[in-house]
């Protein structure tokens, strides 16, 4: 049996379904619920079983002809952009929306291959300020200035 993309997908889904099915037994039931026709466990267990059946079929029938080339994929900027977004999530409450957004944009422009730093910084600042004005002044959305702001302003 050759390893193909389809079979890999099937195996991952099989593991996920088994994991899901296993934890479906952790769902609490009220006393006497075992005599009920439908409990909070019913659908999850049916789904887990269906997931297992489908993934086993995919593993068995998934041929090797569907292999997509992963050689030409440009992984590096994608991984860096994901990391930048994750960092944005970590920093936004500390730095506040404006500062975190400017930093995120400058870093992302750089990741995407922009080499002119001054231009990138100018665009990031202008774009963030316009976006901030749109959110706070027009759409009336309150944006928390961030922990850093509170520290500096007591």
């Amino acid at each position: 049996m050759q390893i193909s993309n389809q079979r890999i997908g099937g195996l991952i889904f099989l593991l996920f379904s088994l994991f899901y099915g296993y934890f479906s037994y952790d769902i609490a039931l009220f006393p006497g619920a075992e005599y009920e026709p439908f409990t909070p466990r019913t659908l999850p267990q049916f789904l887990a079983l269906s997931g297992v059946i489908c993934s086993v079929i995919l593993v068995i029938t998934g041929g090797a002809d569907f292999r997509a080339s992963i050689k030409h994929l440009v992984w590096q900027p994608v991984a860096k952009l994901l990391a930048a977004m994750f960092a944005y999530g970590l920093l936004v409450n500390w730095l506040g929306f404006v500062l975190a957004t400017i930093i995120f944009l400058v870093v992302s422009f750089r990741i995407m291959g922009e080499t002119k730093h001054k231009k990138a910084a100018a665009i990031a600042v202008i774009f963030t300020l316009v976006f901030w004005a749109l959110l706070t002044q027009i759409l009336d959305i309150y944006l928390e200035p961030g922990q850093l702001w509170h520290w500096f302003n007591g």
């Binding site: 992984w75 422009f109 928390e144």
Partner: protein
Amino acid sequence: MLDGILAGLGTAVMPMNLMMVVVGCLVGTFIGMLPGLGPITAIALMIPLTYSLEPSSGLILMAGVYYGAIFGASSSSILINAPGCSATVVTAFDGNPLAKKGQAGKALAVAAYASFTGGTLGAIMLLIAAPALASVSLSFQSADYFALMVLGLSAVAAFSGKGQVLKAIMMTILGLMLATVGTDRSEGVERFTFGQLDLIDGFSFLLLAMATFALAETLMSVLKPENPNNSATEQKMMSELGSLKLTKEEVKSVAAPTLRSSFLGFFVGVLPGAGATIASFLAYGVERNLAKPEDKKQFGEGSLKGLAAPESANNAASTGSFVPLLTLGIPGSGTTAVLLGALIAYGIQPGPRMYIEHPDLFWSIIISMYFGNVILLILNLPLIPYLAKLLNIPRPYLIPMILLFSITGVYLVSFNSMDIMIMVAVCMAALGLRLLSFPMAPMLLGFILGGMLEDNLRRALLIGDGELSFLWERPLTLTFISIAALVLFSPLLRPIWERSKARAEYEQAKRKAATKI
């Protein structure tokens, strides 16, 4: 009904709502023109902005974005042979050859007029079909709803393309599994929360839609850079479109295919799961078969009929897909699933009751969809060269900005920075699944229908004393279940049938050869 229509018209012509249609169409056209970003992404990006608006204005904006995105996707199909969404893949078959012949303006005009006709006829049919279906669906019981949802989910899986059916079923199951995370709606017990407070309310629909579509589609365009920057020829093509005028003969030649495809598209769109992609392929195939032999040769080489047919069909199908959403509360496609998520977020449950309880909202959406078509024709068509210039924004700037819109879109609703991190994790999983060719729309549909499906199944089982006989006791339930089984198993059984047919043919040929000898 007339009162409702007038109330809807009154809401739709309010200056704010008219502005929303215009803005929606323009923004939708721009997002739709970006290769790889489809209507689901366009609507998902708009959801956070609509929370500060009235429900009617928000939904009108999203309806405008939907139409605009399809129109924009058609434009990029014609101009740069890069369909913005699957529904406009067929548009490129004849649209792009026309553009290459220097008739990009004509191709865009045919696409716009055909879309307008499809949209107009679709809106008229929606006007007739929606109230009729809404009144019929008032007699639906839990068992019927459950069966109808099973039909919708099966159809989405079955229509997802050759070799994709099993994967689409798996993604539907995944969507249903994700919908079970959180607090159980009937008994209030926690399911799959692992003690995490962030998971008690389950996954946010917006987060899931943004992560699996807006973020994942944008990052996929970085991962697989097919057309990093538009070539000089494409840029020239976009700025010099040529004449937008059509001759009398050309109008005559496309009139019949446009009308036929509009009707076909609408009925395909109404079917749960079928949607605009199938409608456009079907319309193209039908017109090709109906064409005279000399016209048939033109298909694929720049035939106006071949361009008008899918364009009118996909627009009519988009309108048709609103029928099950507005009257039954069951989305038939990924895009209408996102719209359903938005409606629920507003506290509005689409379905037959919506027609009775919010007639102004119901009709204003339908009327605004028509306004959207008019706007696309009179405003967007002349603006295409300028909108196309926006496509020349360098990718190093464009991609991060779309990513920022996506993540802040989720953050600004919950103000929970944890959501951004969950979004990144979901996006990574979505990228992996996309690389393994798993379709995402069935997952979203499964997720949005999961809660309703479980509620109706529970009710049907409790009413039926735990017996599964509810599946065949009512003729309506039995019909839906039978169609679902047929739809679901026919693609799975097709390879077996084809193999046995091939074997039979081989045996026959062998026998013939033996008799000759």
